[in-house]
Amino acid sequence: MTEALIGFGAILVLMLLQVPLAFAMALVGLAGVAWIRNWPSAYSMAGAVVFESGFQYLLSVVPLFVLMGNLVTQARLSRELYAAAHAFVGHRRGGLALSTILACGGFGAVCGSSLATTATMAKVAYPEMRKLGYSPALAGGTIAAGGTLGILIPPSVVMVVYAILTEQSIGKMFAAGILPGLLAIVLYMAAVRWVTWRRPQDGPPGQHTPWPGRWAALRDVWGVAALFLLVMGGIYGGVFTSTEAAGIGACGAFLFTWWRGRLTWPVLSQVLIESARTTGMLFLVLIGALLFANFINFTSLPRELQEMVKHFEVHPIVVIVAICAIYIVLGCLLESMSMVLLTVPVFYPLVQHLGFDLVWFGIIVVVVVEISFITPPVGLNVAVLKSLLPGVSMRTLFAGVTPFVVVDIVRLALLIAFPGIVLLLPRYLG
């Protein structure tokens, strides 16, 4: 275990020097294996990891879902999604915030990135909420929290990476995210209602839309529904695999964006290059994490963790709660994808040993990652929002997300207490 702890310490030192995390993990992984075994083993192990990361058919879902999300973002669907949600709930107290949550959920159904969901919805929802007199804290907090739905409601890049790391079915992971995603929407809406119940002036009601107007608004978002049904229907209807679904989804998103007149050659070129850059960044982290995971597997840490749990007769649920607590603390310091890649290889053998379902644990990990997106000081969604809304202070934004963090903790507790919420759909789908 000492070697592993020294390894984590070395990564921390390299992080302080601002070495990109991928390189830090790669160096520690390589040096660690050389230390425990020998240099030739470390050398050939590193070559094999780089080689295999490049030639992995399953991993092709990552660039394709990233491409799909970037194309959908270009389609500027957010305004129609927001209008449709507003037509149904906008007249209620806090209605615009409720609309934002619903629209974020809809956008998350075709985009697997929280940051993209936050950035896209901020441009549409924030000015509308402020115009109606919403407080900056509620408006900003709603968008930052709503944005986290992007990674829970399938398709989700984090889920894909988790599924590949733990050798789980991507289809089952996606199915497992649906009910927790709906639960998240309900709880976020409850948080909005609670805030506006305590301070009605923070979220005044908007105009009432009659039913014909509602149906008309709903017709404008057919593209989102069509794309979601194409990808998910294709997977669960047995038409194509999740890997193929990503390619079909990307092509569908291309056609849809082109049909809406948003796709010019320069835009297409930028979307492709941006997606390739994101892919390169994710794969470098993946290569680093795999090298580090190999080192951890050579140490006695995974076995000793299991023995420690056995020796102290710790209840398995206590272990899960402890892991969640570690994630929430780490989430305050680390970027989300890096956190998953760095820690999942350490925790998942223990979780599996304790008899938990790894699909269920994957959703728990995604939920804690969601929390890390909105907790200080790193909270990436809040940072993205701050860059788009320079007039609003970080303090205001973090104050605004607090009620949503509270309901996130409640949701986490519910998912731990009732695993059926996660595991019901994978039983029938995927």
């Binding site: 390299l14 992080m15 302080l16 020097l17 601002q18 070495v19 990109p20 995390l21 991928a22 390189f23 790669a26 160096l27 390589l30 050398y43 050939s44 590193a46 070559g47 094999a48 780089v50 080689f51 990361s53 490049g54 030639f55 058919y57 991993l59 092709s60 660039p63 394709l64 491409l67 270009q74 038409v239 194509f240 890997t243 193929e244 390619g247 079909i248 990307a250 092509c251 291309f254 835009v267 070129s269 492709l272 290059i273 941006e274 390739a276 850059r277 994101t278 892919t279 390169g280 960044m281 794969f283 470098l284 982290v285 290569i287 310091l333 680390l334 970027e335 994808m337 890096s338 790193v378």
Partner: protein
């Protein structure tokens, strides 16, 4: 006033950048189209693309490794900013310089280990199973990209050493790029 003629190294840099971009575009678009053609071929014409899985893997190599260099060029790789040092301080410059120097060395090292993997693929004449495409050139490409990545990092280090800006992810100076 006429524009300053570009130095040789600037022309090489721009040409390399252009090539990398086209490679990223073609391989990623190819990846999506290949899946579409394969699925349509299988269900509509009962004629799937032969070796589609292998072609996907080969295209992936293009997307990933061109993407790694393009991301480094924009300094987009994940860095955790744990010490809140002032942007303009000498300590910040030192911290950034040390970080990039280490990243350069590690990228070079990864390039070297991949090169030896490529040599072994060449020695054993490794090929893909269905299409029989030789793997060695692809692995040499991976290695070359990791070395190019080290070179891009070294260029960042040179910029910092000459007093250039130290911020992390930053907007590109490339005229081809602007926010869509």
């Amino acid at each position: 006033m006429s524009a300053r003629p570009r130095a040789f190294h600037e022309r090489v840099r721009d040409a390399a950048q252009w090539l990398l971009r086209r490679l990223a575009e073609v391989t990623l678009a190819g990846l999506a189209l290949l899946t579409l053609v394969d699925v349509l071929g299988r269900y509509v014409f009962s004629f799937p693309v032969r070796g589609a899985v292998e072609m996907t893997e080969l295209l992936m190599v293009g997307v990933i490794f061109s993407g790694i260099v393009l991301a480094t060029q924009r300094r987009e790789h994940v860095v955790v900013d744990l010490l809140a040092l002032p942007q303009r301080s000498g300590l910040r410059r030192l911290q950034q310089g040390a970080g990039i120097a280490l990243a350069t060395a590690i990228s070079g090292l990864l390039g070297a280990v991949t090169w030896s993997r490529a040599l072994s693929a060449l020695d054993f004449g490794e090929r893909t199973t269905i299409l029989g495409v030789p793997l060695a050139p692809m692995v040499f490409f991976m290695s070359a990209m990791l070395w190019l990545n080290a070179l891009v990092n070294a260029a960042h280090l040179w910029e910092i050493a000459r007093g250039g800006p130290v911020e992390l992810a930053r907007p590109s100076t490339d005229p081809e790029e602007s926010t869509p």
